[in-house]
């Protein structure tokens, strides 16, 4: 289960509400479960951020795959 989508935090309101961007789509999400700052990436599930992602990994998934694969192959 558990569809979750990465999004960039654009703004934080009232402590636990974040305005995030899923990719040309801004939405409010709840930040109760993470400590996060504007500009960071989060993983969002059922309207809640459930984890912080590093900015680079949020932006460049393809590159991440490449690196992980490369690292693994080197082992």
């Amino acid at each position: 289960m558990c569809i979750a989508m990465p999004a960039e935090v654009l703004e934080i309101k009232d402590g636990n509400i974040g305005v995030v961007d899923f990719g040309d789509l801004k939405q409010e999400v709840r930040l109760d479960l993470v400590d996060v700052s504007v500009g960071e990436f989060v993983l969002v599930h059922v309207g809640f951020a459930i984890q912080r992602l590093s900015r680079e990994e949020g932006l460049e998934t393809r590159e991440v795959f490449r690196q992980v694969h490369a690292a693994m192959m080197e082992e």
Partner: protein
């Protein structure tokens, strides 16, 4: 047996209901009739091909980003005429209005219908209005029927192996906009319905090359339209996942909603199968029109049956007509 919501959502289930409703001896006036379940009927009259079609329009909310029920009611019928190759001439309009409906909203709807008519030179010439008591009906229903004239009739069953499949623009815009609104996801104006009258777009394409089949991917979306076209044409279709045009915002929203944008309605798009040699020219013609800027060749017709998708990763899967209206999912 009782009618249920799935019976109205297109696809195989709806087919069962349609078998009941279309069980008429008097179903054809000498051309293409009800039995074809094409976008419209054709009636040969005095050497002309009169195209005739109808749709009921119920949409919630009635005003949404990018349009309203009035624009949909006009475009839905204009587009069905256009899908048959018909230049839209005249529309009828049957409104069923719940008691308590705001007259100012009605004025907006009518103005919006007028604007859509203006885009394609058709007129709304006859109508009927009923008011139902509070409690008997939730929201306004608008039926339109339309008359067009086709120089050359285009069917939805004319796909031929080798044909290029073209969609005239981004997929899923209307359905995702509506779905989000309806389920209480507030996307504000970030996602717009694509509702638009397509006659002038189609007219240009028809003048440019050989279009073997057309259909507007409304209820059931692209998935339903392409399957219906393939099935009726007794061919297979292969779609290239990476060629499918989507608006990024629509993809994001579809991801959030857990809904496949291929399965939701478009109200300003056409799917066509065209002769391979004419594909590029037709694509260029479409792209030169404001409603066709994102047109793309998305697949190919093959011998066989079924619609499959070649995925980005190199896999292959079926594109199935959806069962029932999609529902937002979180898992």
């Amino acid at each position: 047996m009782k009618v249920n919501l799935m019976h109205g959502a297109g696809g195989e289930v709806m087919g069962e209901l349609l078998r009941v409703i279309t069980n008429l001896r008097h179903n054809n006036a000498g051309g293409i009739g009800l039995e074809s379940l094409d976008d419209g009927a054709v009636i040969p009259l005095n050497g002309q091909n009169i195209v005739f079609t109808t749709d009921n329009h119920v949409v919630s909310p009635i005003f949404f980003p990018g349009g309203d029920i009035g624009r949909i009611a006009v475009c839905g019928t204009i587009n069905d005429l256009a899908m048959m190759g018909g230049r839209p001439v005249a529309l009828s309009c049957g409104m069923v209005i719940p008691e308590g409906f705001d007259v100012a909203d009605l004025e907006r709807i009518v103005a919006s219908m007028d604007a859509a008519l203006d885009e394609c030179g058709a007129s709304l010439v006859t109508g009927d209005t009923k008011v139902l008591e509070r409690g008997a009906l939730d929201a306004i229903i608008i039926n339109t029927a339309g008359i067009g004239v086709a120089e050359r009739v285009v069917r939805d069953n004319g796909l031929v192996p080798g044909d290029a499949i073209i969609v005239s623009g981004t997929i899923g815009d209307h359905g995702i906009a509506i779905m989000a609104h309806r389920e209480g996801f507030d996307f504000g104006g970030q996602i717009h319905s694509d509702v638009a009258p397509l006659w002038t777009l189609v007219e240009g394409a028809l003048a440019t090359g050989d279009i073997h089949a057309m259909k507007d991917p409304t209820r059931g979306g692209f998935a339903n339209a392409i399957n219906e076209m393939a099935k009726k044409s007794r061919v297979g279709v292969v779609i290239e996942e990476e060629a499918l045009p989507f608006r990024k915002s629509v993809q994001s929203a579809a991801g959030m909603l857990g809904i496949d944008p291929l399965e939701v309605a478009n109200e300003g798009k056409v799917v066509m199968g065209v002769a391979p040699d004419d594909a590029e020219a037709i694509l260029a013609a479409l792209r030169s029109h404001p409603y066709g800027r994102d047109a793309a060749i998305v697949g190919e017709v093959i011998e066989g049956s079924h619609v499959t998708m070649r995925t980005a990763i190199g896999g292959e899967r079926f594109i199935e007509p959806p069962i029932g209206d999609p529902v937002p999912r979180v898992c």
